[in-house]
Amino acid sequence: MTTGENPSTAGWEPGIVAFLCNWCSYAGADSAGVGRHQYPSSVRIIRVPCAGRISPFFIISAFLEGADGVLVSGCHPGDCHYTSGNLIARRRFILLKSLLEHAGVEEGRLWFTWVSASEGGRFAAVVDTVTKRVRALGPASCLRRRFI
């Protein structure tokens, strides 16, 4: 994947919605702040109690409402505050990602990862990677609502 900018979208910055579980990944984002890990300003974080709370609707809705990328992050396997929410969610995520990409949402728009409370650096690296990839893809159009 190139990181070169599409000339028609030069200066354009993607809008990315991130759904983070409260106990690990949101805390990881906090750690990124505490550790002053700088990362692109593209991400808008929505806090949920657990990765298991993240319904496919959230992700599809984010694309519908104009997100250029979506990032989902929960606790590493075994760390789930609610025992197994992240693992049940993982099954949902596999299918959702596969389906969206099957339907033509470009690979590189939807990201799943695990970030723990102490991984501030990792969180910043995740946002960095995701932003680069989404930026290279340009604005998303596959699901974005356009009234006719």
């Binding site: 995520f93 389906l99 995740v126 995701v130 596959c142 974005r144």
Partner: protein, 329 residues
């Protein structure tokens, strides 16, 4: 067993069940208002069982009609109907003890639109079946077609021809096909993303949101479908293509691990949307990742209600993967 013999047996068994009071209702098929049509029918007394038929046009999934009815019900069911029954039992929608399954082996259903296409829309006025062929009267002249050539898309990739649950078996077991795999899915997936998108958008553009796919589906039984819900309105009801696509995406996700691939939705669609293009992706993933085939065993938990520690994780972002390694480049 000849088709006519199957019909005779179905009628006899249904009549016995009703006459003996073992069931209050038999759900099966009757001859439709035109050739190449069979319609669901509901028979509640033994005299009415003569209406029952069985032919290559019984494509509707009758599992759809059992929910919400009182009393004991017998259902004339092909393999995919029984697979839907299994999932519905698992999901507390039906009680196994309240149903009698009259199981009929199935060699695939015929796609009447394909027949019309092949016969040049000449007007089919008669149809009979013998030896794996359809003997048609098209535009007044006899035409003979191999059934194999005009099977429904879903039937061509069918993996289960015999009822999974059955109380009364009618006919001889059909030979089970080799599981054909997911060649269609893989071929489609091999296309560039942009082309997949164009193809799927072309399908979705035809959708008129009439809800036939959803309403005919045995597994779509929500009291209120998300698509009709206004608060929150996840998916718009208007015409924006994103919402239409999202409706079908969410429906495919809701059917993941539950879709028995009966093809009823595709047959019902008035504009011929290839709904399998999404649902098959889910079937392939559920089978490959979780080893699950819907409707095959009542005791196996639904794949999205559980997890395995070894579930795939390679789809997830690992920002340090490769980066922190100083020796691999």
């Amino acid at each position: 067993m000849e088709a006519s013999a199957i019909v005779r047996t179905v009628r006899e068994r249904a009549a016995e069940l009703l006459a003996s009071g073992r069931v209050d209702l038999v759900i099966g098929f009757e001859q439709g208002s035109m050739p190449m049509r069979a319609a669901p029918c509901f028979v509640s007394d033994a005299d009415g069982t003569d209406r029952l038929v069985w032919n290559s046009f019984c494509g509707v999934n009758l599992a759809r009609f059992l929910r919400g009815r009182h009393g004991r019900i017998a259902v004339v069911a092909k393999a995919c109907d029984t697979r839907a029954l299994v999932e519905l039992i698992k999901e507390n929608q039906l009680c196994r003890t309240d149903m009698v399954v009259i199981g009929v082996p199935c060699a695939g259903m015929v796609d009447s639109a394909a027949v019309e296409e092949i016969t040049g829309h000449a007007g089919i006025t008669g149809v009979e079946e013998a030896d794996g062929r359809l003997l048609l009267t098209a535009g007044g002249s006899p035409v003979s077609l191999p059934r194999e050539d005009v099977l429904c898309r879903s039937c061509r990739r069918c993996s289960t021809r015999n009822p999974v649950i059955c109380d009364i078996a009618v006919g001889e077991r059909a030979p089970e096909p080799e599981i054909p795999g997911f060649l269609d899915v893989d071929q489609f997936a091999a296309l560039p993303s942009e082309e997949r998108r164009t193809r799927i958008e072309a399908e979705m553009k035809r959708c008129i949101r009439c809800n036939a796919c959803r309403n005919v589906c045995p597994m779509c039984y929500c009291v209120r479908c998300f698509a009709d819900d206004a608060f929150p309105q996840w998916v718009g009801r208007g015409g924006d293509p994103g919402s239409v696509m999202s409706f079908h995406l969410v429906r495919a996700l809701h059917l993941a691990g539950r879709c028995v691939e009966c093809g009823a939705c595709e047959r019902a669609c008035p504009t011929g949307v290839d709904l399998g293009i999404l649902n098959r992706r889910m079937s392939a993933d559920v089978y490959r990742h979780f080893g699950y085939r819907p409707g095959m065993a009542p005791e196996i938990p639904s794949p999205l209600s559980t997890f395995s520690p070894g579930d795939p994780e390679d789809f997830m972002l690992e920002p340090d993967r490769g980066r922190s390694c100083g020796c691999g480049g």
